[in-house]
């Protein structure tokens, strides 16, 4: 009797308050941090900064000044270019890697340690590795000289500190390929090989199997991991700061420079830059998810 009583009590309790209580801490922390950051960023970019004696809210002057300059659009273009190219490259490399990883091969246990290494270490380490490998006095340049391709460091093609950004892209790809691999590999493990086998028995060739069977299966993993990598790259600071080509910089570096300027009124323009980064990221990610969900609906999965 008492036992049953205890049990039914546990279940009959209105779940709502306990549930809300359990969800409260995480919700409060995130909502406070994001909410406060968003409100302040938008307010300050629209001219609300009483602590500097500036309060002309709402004032679109700072956005007008920022968006009206051609340099902003160059910076935006560079930011998008580095983010997009590295995400696409990492995705292709990661899909190839995860397709190889689901097969059996000697040393697979060890390999599963090795491929995760870039995931485990900070971006600054990746940047240091890029400098020592790809710099004009770096390892690649030395190897090129040792086989007689060049006779002076300046003859080695400049990879770092150019606006083509191959150094930045190399660091992002090196760090993020394992991340996307992990996501895709997890999905591949989950779906098993039955559908592949069925397609093979029905006479599909390797490419047909990949594009018509495997790719739709791993798409959720691809979408979520590329979403994360792309928005990380949009907001990344250290790689473009060290390996970038200088003025014009990517948007996060531009924003950081505004905030470190001796003229603190530039901080309002800096905040307009920050809000712009958020807007660009929001629009692109929303469109990406919308396209993906439409695709899923068409396939009847959502």
């Amino acid at each position: 009797m008492t036992i049953e009583h205890g049990l039914t009590q546990g279940k009959a309790e209105p779940p709502s308050w306990r549930l809300l209580l359990e969800l409260a801490p995480i919700t409060l922390v995130l909502a406070l941090l994001f909410g406060a950051a968003t409100v302040l960023a938008v307010a300050q970019s629209l001219g609300f900064a009483p602590w500097y004696g500036i309060n002309t809210f709402p004032d679109f002057r700072y956005f007008a000044a920022l968006w009206g300059s051609g340099i902003f659009w160059v910076s935006l273009g560079l930011t998008l270019y580095y983010s997009l190219v590295s995400t696409i490259l990492a995705l292709v490399l990661a899909v190839l890697l995860s397709l190889a990883l689901i097969k059996a091969f000697p040393g697979k246990g060890l390999y599963k340690y090795i491929y995760k290494l870039p995931l485990m270490i900070p971006y600054t380490v990746g940047i240091a590795l890029a400098v020592i490998m790809l710099g004009n006095g770096g390892m690649m340049s030395r190897l090129a000289a040792s086989i007689g391709l060049i006779s002076d460091p300046s003859q080695f093609p400049r990879i770092l500190n150019t606006h083509a950004g191959w150094g930045i892209i190399a660091v992002y790809v090196w760090k993020q390929t394992p991340f996307i691999t992990l996501a895709v590999y997890a999905v591949l493990l989950g779906v098993g090989r039955e559908t592949d086998d069925a397609a093979a028995i029905l006479g599909a060739n390797r490419f047909q199997i990949f594009f018509q069977v495997t790719l739709p299966q791993i798409l959720p993993g691809i979408v979520s991991s590329t979403l994360i990598c792309f928005s990380f790259n949009l907001g990344a600071f250290e790689a473009p700061f060290i390996l970038g080509g200088g003025f014009p910089d990517t948007l996060p570096v531009v924003a950081w420079r505004y905030f470190n300027d001796a003229d603190y009124t530039l901080q309002l323009q800096g905040m307009a830059t920050v809000v712009s980064i958020g807007l660009v990221a929001g629009v692109i990610l929303f469109a990406y998810l919308a396209v993906y969900r439409r695709y899923e609906r068409q396939r009847g999965r959502a």
């Binding site: 969800l23 397709l99 907001g235 700061f241 905040m271």
Partner: protein
């Protein structure tokens, strides 16, 4: 013929063998010149190997140049290491405390707006870090939190929460309710059940989530750099200030190796703690 094709699909193709070798070389390869650099005494371009190693010059230099600097008090390595580990541990504990209850609800309860809520919890992964970092800096300056440990710890919760919650939810989903119901039937209170049944069974997942959270925290650069205001240094920001000029000398090489060490140790200790579930999950689709 059919058998051969099947074999081909179970074993690696020649291209895949080649690809795995190249990928492995690209991942590990760059650490080789780093090691060489840190032990070189004289390494001029275009020599592929140093013309003089530290060993042959040991009468002139007590330690390899790089390590001599890195291990000296001037490098502030000890301070950065202590900060990194301390911040990581505190972030780990707070993150666990706020994620554990929420993970139970997400794994077991159904409620309206759950998909939206899960998307909300994933937001930190898709909001550009520099945007949130700079906006928080402005707030923290007003609150007097900029350049303080508290400010950095609060900021570190943002990127760690999504991974912790995903890993804990996955563990809770794998754990059936039966054991807890058994405990209730045997007369255990809610607190006893949590302490003696639920937590021990959750332990492997909790450890995995904690290790990964610690790792994410120790690798954060941007939030620490922006909110630390140069007053609090960690291993990633220390390395950043050393290489921000775009060159890498012997001491920077040594420092890079040391900064990689925590991640390498965690990887060796337990490759399995990186739960695939935390990465394969979609965005509330």
């Amino acid at each position: 013929m059919a058998i051969r094709r099947r074999n081909d699909r179970v074993n690696l193709s020649p291209f895949q063998k080649f690809y795995l070798l190249v990928a492995g070389a690209v991942i590990i390869g760059p650490f080789v010149p780093l090691l060489i650099q840190s032990f070189a005494f004289q390494w001029d371009w275009p020599n592929v190997l140093p013309s003089e190693w530290w060993w042959s010059a040991r009468t002139r230099a007590r330690l390899p140049q790089g390590w001599d600097y890195v291990l000296s008090p001037y490098s502030r390595l000890l301070e950065a290491t202590v900060n990194t580990v301390a911040i990581g541990l505190v972030v780990m504990v707070i993150c666990l405390a706020i994620c554990l209850p929420a993970a139970r609800v997400l794994a077991r309860e159904k409620f309206r707006g759950k998909n939206g809520f899960e998307f909300f919890l994933s937001l930190p992964l898709i909001v550009p870090e520099s945007a949130i970092g700079i906006a928080l800096l402005m707030i923290f300056i007003r609150l007097g939190l900029a350049g303080s440990y508290a400010g950095i710890i609060i900021a570190h919760l943002i990127p760690t929460i999504p991974y912790m919650i995903r890993m804990l939810t996955a563990v809770y989903q794998g754990l059936g309710r039966e054991f807890e119901e058994q405990a209730y039937i045997l007369g255990a209170s809610r607190w006893q059940t949590l302490r003696m049944v639920t937590l021990p069974m959750l332990m492997p997942g909790v450890v995995a989530g904690c290790l990964f959270t610690f790792l994410v925290s120790t690798n954060i650069f941007l939030l620490t750099f922006f909110l630390g205001q140069g007053r609090i240094i960690t291993l990633p920001t220390l390395l950043f200030s050393k290489i921000s000029g775009g060159t890498l000398d012997a001491s920077a090489a040594g420092l890079t190796l040391l900064v990689s060490l925590p991640g390498i140790i965690l990887l060796i200790v337990s490759e399995r703690f990186i739960k695939e579930e935390a990465f394969g999950k979609g965005f509330g689709a």
